[in-house]
């Protein structure tokens, strides 16, 4: 089990009903965590449309999660 700090922005914040949470999980990768959270919160995004940031940097979705990581799933951006 790893303990992670997860932050939610924009549509994922609305869908989750919270801005952040600390979570214990058995998910070993960001991708596994995404599927766990999608099931838990009924997120309206497929994996293909989501990027992941770990400790404030974009990382591949198959990146292994480490104790204490700060994880942010990034829905399609719409700045500019």
């Amino acid at each position: 089990m790893t303990t992670l700090h997860i932050i939610y922005f924009a549509a994922l914040c609305d869908a989750t009903g919270r801005e952040e949470e600390t979570l214990k999980t058995e998910a070993e990768t960001a991708k596994a965590l995404f599927h766990e959270l999608t099931e838990k919160y009924c997120w309206p995004f497929s994996e293909a449309n989501i990027l992941v940031a770990i400790n404030d940097r974009y990382r591949p979705v198959d990146t292994s999660l480490q104790e204490g990581d700060r994880v942010v799933f990034i829905p399609p951006v719409s700045g500019g």
């Binding site: 942010v72 829905p75 719409s78 700045g79 500019g80």
Partner: protein, 150 residues
């Protein structure tokens, strides 16, 4: 007047630039009153600041390396914006104009593609939605800074 001649100074937007800068290209992205045929009353931009600043700096640094330009800057609004407000401002300065046009367009394309900022549109009918995909982000040839580091 569509075209004027003047013998008086034209006030610069950016006061002090490299003395070799001959071509400066500025992009302003403003809040439009209409999007996808819906009347927009206002916008909200939310950023993930730690990553947005990292990506924004990386974009500018890439463009400074990959184009023959002297300076480049960009700034993006967060919070609540009204129609006509500037959401994003980008500038490149080069010796010659061709590179400045290319660099400024690359920077705004890259910002729209990879900087984690999200836009919520508030419509005149009372609805508000997070915009899932801006039209403009996908109809351009990729430039080097768009894909870097993602």
């Amino acid at each position: 007047m569509l075209f004027q001649l003047t013998n008086r100074p034209i006030e610069p937007l950016v006061e002090s630039l490299h003395s070799h800068a001959g071509g400066i290209v500025i992009f302003e992205g403003r809040v439009r009153a209409i999007n996808d045929d819906r009347a927009v009353s206002s916008l909200e931009y939310v950023a993930y600041p730690e990553l947005a600043l990292h990506e924004g700096h990386a974009i500018i640094n890439n463009v400074l390396q990959q184009f023959d330009i002297l300076e480049a800057y960009a700034i993006h609004r967060t919070g609540h914006l009204a129609i006509g407000d500037i959401a994003v401002w980008v500038m490149s300065a080069a010796v010659h104009r061709k590179e400045a046009f290319a660099a400024t367009e690359c920077i705004i394309n890259a910002i729209k593609a990879r900087v984690p900022i999200w836009k919520k549109e508030y419509y005149s009918d009372g609805e508000a939605i997070w915009v899932r995909c801006d039209h403009c982000a996908h109809d351009h040839a990729p430039c080097p800074a768009v894909k870097e580091s993602m």
